[in-house]
Amino acid sequence: MATPVIEAQRLYVYQNDTDVARTVIATASDATGVESVTNNVGYWSAASTFTSIFVPSSGASTVEGVCSRDWMYFVDGLNSDCQKWDLDYGVQIWGIVAPLSSELMTISDHYTGVINLNIGRVYYYAYYNFVTGNYSDLSQPSPSSGPVVNKELQLTNIYPSSDPQVTGMVLLATADGGDPSILYFVATLAADATNYLDNTTETDLLLAPVYQETDTSGLTSGLLGNEPPPASGKFPTKWNGRLWLVQDQFLRFSKSLAEVITSTGVIAGRYEEDWPSYNSIDVSEGAETIHGLLAGGSTLYVGTELHIRSMTGNDATTFSQPVIVFNDVGLLNQPVWQTVFLEGTPVGAMWLTPDLRCIGSDFNTYQDVGTPIQSTLNSINPAALNNCWAQFTSNGPYNFYILAIPTGANTVPDTLCVYDLRGHKWYIWQLYDQLSAGLFYLSYTGIPRFMFTDASGDIWAFDTTTTWDRNLDVTATGITTILTTSFLDLGDPTIHKTLNEVEVGTSLSGMLVSVSGASMPSSYGSPNTVLSPTALSVSPFGQYKVYLNGAPATDRMYQFSFSATSDNNSTTSDIFLDLFSTQVKPLHRY
């Protein structure tokens, strides 16, 4: 029996290379702060058990995440939920807050030692997390020691961090003279240390590893600027060796790995957790809100409600200003924006705009590919627009962009608009369940999965081997398939005609066929019923047919509809329709 687990709003693939493991993470937030199927963040364990990572706090918005190097990073607008998670180490705060500016270290006493300084040195300290290898930003500098002759230096008023992820501190110092452009390693301190007696000679200090340095052009590397990410950030995205967040109209970006490595090879931080406040790019020159990010090769695309913008570059000195590449085809929300592939090759991206156009782009041009299903798109519940989501999925000959939309009064998507990237055609799927979120991914062993969660919190996956919805559950339900032609003139739109029979090529003996007719513009909305849904007959030669003897078939245009529901006799190789044929007898032109 299906057991409600989580009514996910987002699903992510999580990978831990240390453990050679991959699993799925689901997030749901209803702002209550209470654990439930609509308010939880968790993963599936080796025992297939959904295991909570954390419960979103009261007032949390949608929990979004991004996976990078064994850790999953989460944001939902609240400081308390700005966290990271690792399969082995559990939940920790994302980033380390540096010692406060009011927490000033002092050099309070001099003892006999081996330090000799002409001008004096200045000390700094920073917190570190042994598990992640991350360091906080620097503390405020100590006062200069001043000239020193054969002394030790007693450092006091070192303030331990209250963050449980902090496993220790690192004490750094300038060379004699107090030049802060290079900070050398002095000592490692315990996490609860409040003082330190330094007796490091200037010679030893200059030979010590460098944890922070600034070159002549002002570029820094090391732990300066290792600030936590903005908790109010949205749309965490990994692109070009950095993590990116959107904070209002600004793009915020973390350091890169190169920016935390110093000239002595010290990796002074975990770049995903180090967000200098100056790593910020103003996106819009007007009233515009960022709705999502898309990493596309060497380009980062920024979608607002009005435009699609793009930027390139490798670091703060080369990042271009996000410029408009597509006007007036803005983005509805992050989940509908998907890179699409054809036979494994990226061919562009697709998304839904706030005015319900479905756009397809090869990153150079775009077109409104959703026009053929505009009636369906127009049925989206305006109150639930942000619940739309999309996924790209492929399976054998099929390459789909699947757009899930809530129609009518539904607030959870109940209709899947399936765009075939090979044939450039749309098909509509309606499942027994409403789909709150979906994820297409490959298992570590290369098995493709397209899983989704429903409005009750049950977990399902598309299964190419079954002809049922809710397969394996006691509520298993047959799939009703319907094809309805457009109004066909059957060769001549000006001639009234009658029909003799309709032959159908199908393997489904339970199919029903109906026929409607129309001749006037006013009658297309309420066409004449020529044949109500009728079961197939078997002709003397074995073909499936329906006969229209006596049916009121005198119209110019006809519409044919075919329907069938899967049952115990159904197989995945069933042919729903491969032939449709009708005998036509023209009547007159008037």
């Binding site: 499942l431 299964d463 079954t466 129309a518 159904s570 036509v584």
Partner: protein, 307 residues
Amino acid sequence: MPEATIIPLGLNSQDPFALYQYNRTSWRMAGVDDWTAPPGQNPDMLVTALNVLPPATNAFQRRWGYSIFSPKLDIGGPGGDTNTTPLLRQVLPFEANNQVGITAQQLVTPEAVLAGSLILVFFYNTPAVATGAYPVTDSHGNTYTQVQWRVNLDSELALFWALNTTPGHLTVTIACTGTTFNICAGVAEIIGASHLTPIASESDSGVSDGGPSGTITLASTFMFPENQLLLGWAGATNTDGSASFTAAGCFTLNEPSGYTVHGVTSPFLTSGFQWCPQGVANTGSLPAKFTCNKTVTYRGVVLAIQG
């Protein structure tokens, strides 16, 4: 170019009013267009194409269905990321203690059972008769094997299994060939079992008036691989003056840890059935240990099924 063809059927193909055949066998241009209004609609397109796959083979086929799924931590080796964890699909507990002196009892599954499912029939009755004295049959002609039988004082508890061969509702009949009996019985359907027999089972019985007791331990050599379903079934003589078992309360699962226990009871609460449809990692030899939660005379069975 329209994918339909027109085949004249009359003798004079130039006669505009001659009989003809409108024929379409190509569907590669067919997709949904619910936006364009008639009469100018593209004849190759469809107003509705619901729940079909694109015509990759030039024929329409039904879309994919979907199944119960449970992701799992995939460690990259064989057996990773599977949806074949055995599931207890349906359970029907049945109580017939008020039907004193009957010779046969029937249970009808609330939902249709699937072909290939493992059917478990468990019952608790008085008076005790003898092992093998209860033929179990069903409406699908499945063959039942007795897995466990436990007698204690004047009552007994038994467990049978069969592989279901035919889909559809199932009527299970438990007969007593020796004498009449008072019975509490149930039937369960399990899907996803890779071994079509329970891979291990044990039973135990006893009297415990001083507090919860009655440990049943699967064989110590029994290994706990992944994807396992543990089942427990207990019956008790209600002599402690309280209601008997509660849902998921007939046993406490002591070992292994990490299971979520589910359960049902019979309507008259003199017996209970519980299950733990989760797997554990292969951590070596590990006995499953249930503790009977009654302070009374009890009988119980546990078994494990491999997914």
